[in-house]
């Protein structure tokens, strides 16, 4: 008994209770920090919810005035005119046309660039070229708008007489150049994920680099390469400043790249530049247009990420 009492009074034991109390405090602080960090991570969810909520809320108000049938079948988009028409198709046509031109530029160049980076370039070349491509991604789009309006279009006018100053061809080409680095880097990732043993098998049969790249690596990485194209489309669809500056802002239902047209994004910019009263139909119309844009990019993004995941799982 005596010894036990002695042990209990030992300063060492006091420290244990102290330590337990300290431990409790420590755990409390740890929990608190974890909670704060979780809130920060949840902000991404809140932002998504806020975007969807705002777009839906204002769009509902818009669709109280405009029927869905009119929205999707009317061939004119003139919400700000006396004789108002609310057909989204001219804007969708403009968006698809500029995106298609952009893809025609970016897909071949981006794919060749990706094959070169992944299969041909030396380590040193790759390390030099990739940061340069990243720089191109960092150039603000308003500057590319200037380039499309005052450099590319005048240049094109020398080859295509009668090309109006505002057209879809020039901005389409510029957007294409803008998304080359993006397509090249996603496609290169896919190609680099193809196992070395497949290349070695091909080389062992006497194939050259080019043959291996075209007949072995590219087919093996095809879902990843397609993912790159789809994510590229999504970028082109959401691109705003280049088309707002250089494509003109006249919504016409046309797929002719030699004509000027408005895209969904350009329309939003055009309306926002004016001073529209909050709650008017014009104000609501940009949210409806934004909703369509959001759904289009979401569709391409989901499709792209699914395709990208597929190639990651394959090997």
């Amino acid at each position: 008994m005596n010894t036990v009492n002695q042990v209990l009074k030992n300063p060492m034991d006091m420290q244990i209770s102290d330590r337990l109390a300290k431990n409790f405090r420590r755990n409390l602080i740890e929990r608190g920090i974890e909670f704060i960090l979780m809130l920060a991570a949840l902000s991404a969810v809140f932002i998504t919810i806020a975007i969807v909520a705002i777009l839906l809320y204002e769009s509902f108000a818009f669709f109280e005035h405009v029927s869905l049938v009119e929205f999707f079948t009317d061939t004119q988009w003139t919400p700000l005119f006396e004789d108002a028409h609310y057909g989204i198709m001219p804007l969708v046509a403009g968006t698809l046309t500029t995106s298609a031109i952009a893809l025609m530029v970016a897909v071949p160049i981006g794919t060749i660039g990706a094959i070169y980076l992944s299969e041909f370039a030396s380590h040193k070349t790759r390390e030099t070229v990739k940061p340069i491509l990243e720089l191109l991604v960092g150039v603000p789009t308003v500057v590319f708008g200037y380039f499309a309006l005052l450099f590319v279009t005048p240049l094109l006018q020398k080859f295509i007489p009668g090309l109006p100053a505002f057209n879809m061809l020039g901005p389409g080409i510029v957007i294409g150049i803008m998304i080359i680095p993006y397509i090249a880097s996603v496609a290169e990732d896919a190609m680099r994920a193809v196992p070395m043993s497949m290349r070695e098998g091909s080389y062992a049969m006497g194939a050259t680099r080019f043959q291996t790249a075209i007949r072995v690596v590219t087919p093996a990485a095809v879902s990843g390469i397609i993912a790159a194209y789809i994510l590229g489309i999504s970028r082109a669809v959401g691109e705003t400043m280049v088309v707002a500056i250089a494509a003109g802002q006249q919504p016409t239902l046309t797929f002719n790249p030699m004509e000027g047209a408005a895209t969904i994004t350009a329309y939003i910019v055009q309306v926002a530049m004016g001073d529209l009263p909050h709650g008017s139909i014009g104000y609501q119309s940009i949210f409806a247009a934004g909703l369509v844009l959001m759904l289009m990019t979401l569709f391409f993004n989901v499709l792209g990420h699914m395709s990208r995941k597929k190639f990651r799982e394959a090997y």
């Binding site: 991570a41 806020a50 308003v142 590319f144 708008g145 080019f210 959401g238 934004g290």
Partner: protein
Amino acid sequence: MNKQASALHNLDEVRAMIKRHKMNDQIFSIIGLIALMVGLLTLLILFIDLVMDGYPKLFSWDFYTNFPSRRAANAGLLSAWVGSALVMIVTFISAVPMGIAAGIYLEEYAPKNWFSDFIEINVTNLAGVPSIVYGLLALGLFVYILDLGQSIVTAGLTLGLLILPVVIVATREAIRGIPVAIREAAYAVGATKWQVVYHHVLQYSIGGILTGVIIGMARAIGETAPIITIGALTFIAFLPPSPVTSTAPFLNFDWLTSGFTVLPIQMFSWLSRPSADFHVNAAAAGAVIIVVTLLMNAMAIRVRYKMRKKIKW
């Protein structure tokens, strides 16, 4: 004899074929290099074009100290670059701590379950949302519901939301590169999770995080569409109240609610005028924007390169 000759003939054919295929290799590597140069070449032409068009303005001091004006010759960038700097302060404060915290949570704390997957999907998805949609969010939420108006704080928060995914993704990638052994060593001497994260993980990944932050800020400084969407395309010939004052408490927050303009908006506004005189100003403003963003990106690449060289696990 005949057989031997045909074999020799075949051998020549094979040699010719090999030569042809090797040639294809050479040709393709040249084409590949050219394909990659298209981007670089465009950037070069673009920059030269801007500098040549904006030459008369670019090297005159007045251009940087004058307010915008109705006369192209007098118009300058003063309110634009001051506005850009102030907006960037708000963007930095709103996006960087939150983005780093979210990245740490997702990489170090989040359990592997549907909830974490859900957050991840959200981050990936936000990174793909067109910037103009953030502008619509800001117009509905900040300008009208929260009634912040078309002010510096609205613009800063909007761009903050826009670059949040960039910061989160960069933080996660930087943290992922740190070996588990570092964490285990810290745990072994009795550190708590937060101590491990704060004293070790965060310290060693700061280079990578910084790279992401700089790239995000460079993107924010050049963003135009969301700022136009909140309705900020106006003629600003005044400076917001100074954030620093000479009397106590030395800080002044009136600038947050002030009207403003930023560099890309100023460029867009000059560009959308029909008069070619203003296009000179637009070109000069464009050259300034490119130099600023390229310098920031180059800095980011340099930080990453230096960090990679310094730390060897």
